[in-house]
Amino acid sequence: MLCQECQSKQASLHFTKIINGEKTEFHICETCAKDKGDYIPGSNSFSIHQLLSGLLDTEQPFSTTKESPSLKTQREELTCKNCGLTYQQFAEIGRFGCAECYRTFDEKLDPIFRRIHGGNAEHAGKIPKRKGKDLHVHREIENLRSTLKTQIENEEFEQAAKIRDKIRSLKNNLQEKEGD
């Protein structure tokens, strides 16, 4: 098939757009696709984010139905205090504006991450060495607490006392450091 724009090169990009049930098809070559730029996803380097934004804008399918005003303003109000990015903008560009955005949009992120990361929404990998030191201790305390609970349930009080002391000393260490 020849490119419908220049009629000289082979069309390598086939793109179907459906808006309100109206179907438009493009068959164009790479050169013409680059000229068209934003109109056609996949034709420039931001393609992945354009595709992504489709994923992120989870509320889009419902936006054509009548929306109560309160819901609408609520959505508009979801704005990152640090960088000023709104959820709507995030959905459009497919990227976060800053680290704080993760906290601002937190409630909406689980389904998005699951879709992108094969069902996962929580980190299981590396923890930063220096900054994460306390985090390692926090995790250890949490683990010890659950051990303590089971030991108390099983009436293993001698063991439990040891664990309790260990938790106490870990906590003291943390507090001392914070006081520095």
Partner: protein
């Protein structure tokens, strides 16, 4: 400038070492995305905020001696010429996006160029380790070392639940993209690659051409990388990729073996024709050059061509890119002139090989 000294500058030192399985795996790469806690990401940050990052980098890392990587050199995009940036892209040291980031984009480079840290690309930092051959574990270890070293001096944005926070949701968690560049001519020639491709995709891995996202496969070179970054340990992500690559190596070897047994004359004919074209042509387009180089490289790896060294494809696939050709010529070239220069460069390079 003589072709020899030009090439010595052009080829990153890491490329000169032959890594394991280098007859099939060209290079292994691990990239970690990292950001600072309070500054917005480059896509929306103000110029002075990104400038602040650059001054932090200058103060804390530039010119510093790292125990493994030596002195790190800082190159700022606004201080480089157009073609110098293009050469960095063709060497895979920076991304095309960074080369366009003229306001606050920069890169920190190690002496042997196996390690580069892009500053103010999509994320504040992208630590990348590139090694020759099949060395994924080593790449991960080195990238991790550099991450730890950087983290001693700056606070990276990290969340207990989400991990390392990144600009794009596809990088969150580990921020890790591991990838391997493979030369798979026999799988393509026997049409087996297209059948393997869907299985690779199902395992959460992505296959691309050599210049990344959206680029077409040239010279039977493919880049295979992990897609997901969240919910798995770094070692497991790399291990998943490693096991698929190992299998692809075996399939490629088997396909080469069967080509040799079933159609040796056809194969030899193809390889020597390509060799002839490279040795004698007066004009050659980049796409054809890649194809012919792939054939010759296959001939070398299968022991059919004996007087040329195997790393010729690695070298020439970089040297014959437009940026390098223009740097060699010392001027901007029209595409026809480039084809002529390219053919000349390949001829000279092959002559050099035979003279050794």
């Amino acid at each position: 400038m003589s072709i020899e000294s030009f090439m010595n500058d052009a080829i990153s030192p890491w490329m000169k070492n032959e890594g394991p399985e280098s007859d099939i795996v060209i290079s292994s790469r691990v990239r970690l995305a990292r950001n600072l806690q309070h500054i917005p990401y480059p896509i929306i940050a103000k110029e002075n905020q990104l400038g602040e990052i650059i001054s932090q980098v200058k103060e804390k890392y530039a010119g510093q001696n790292h125990i493994k990587f030596g002195v790190l050199e800082l190159l700022q995009m606004n201080e480089l010429k157009e073609n110098e940036k293009r050469v960095l892209v063709e060497k895979h040291l920076i991304s095309p996006n960074l080369s366009r980031e003229t306001k606050a984009g920069a890169v920190l480079l190690s002496e042997d160029e196996s390690l580069s840290i892009m500053v103010n690309e999509e994320d504040h930092f992208r630590i990348q380790c590139l090694l020759s051959g099949f060395q994924l574990d080593e790449s991960l270890r080195y990238a991790n070392d550099m991450d730890d070293w950087m983290e001693e001096k700056l606070d990276f944005a990290f969340d207990e639940k989400r991990g390392y926070l990144t600009s794009c949701p596809t990088n969150v968690g580990t921020g890790l993209r591991s990838s391997v560049m493979m030369h798979l001519p026999a799988l393509v020639l026997t049409k087996k690659f297209n059948r393997i491709l869907p299985a690779i995709n199902q395992l959460g891995l992505v296959v691309r051409g050599i210049y990344g996202e959206g680029s077409e496969a040239q010279g039977n070179l493919f880049q295979i990388s992990n897609q997901t970054t969240l919910g798995k340990k770094e070692q497991d992500i790399v291990e998943d990729l490693r096991s698929v690559v190992s299998q692809l190596i075996q399939h490629e070897r088997a396909a080469r073996e069967s080509l040799l047994q079933q159609s040796q004359i056809l194969l030899e004919d193809r390889i020597y024709r390509s060799y002839g074209i490279l040795a004698y042509s007066r004009r050659i387009e980049s796409k054809e050059a890649m194809k012919r180089l792939s054939d010759v490289r296959l001939g070398i790896d299968m022991g059919l061509i004996k007087d040329v060294k195997g790393n010729i494809l690695n070298e020439l696939m970089i040297l014959t890119q437009p940026g390098f050709l223009q740097q060699y010529a010392g001027e901007a070239l029209l595409s026809e002139d480039r084809d002529q220069r390219r053919a000349a460069l390949i001829r000279e390079r092959l002559k050099l090989e035979l003279a050794d």
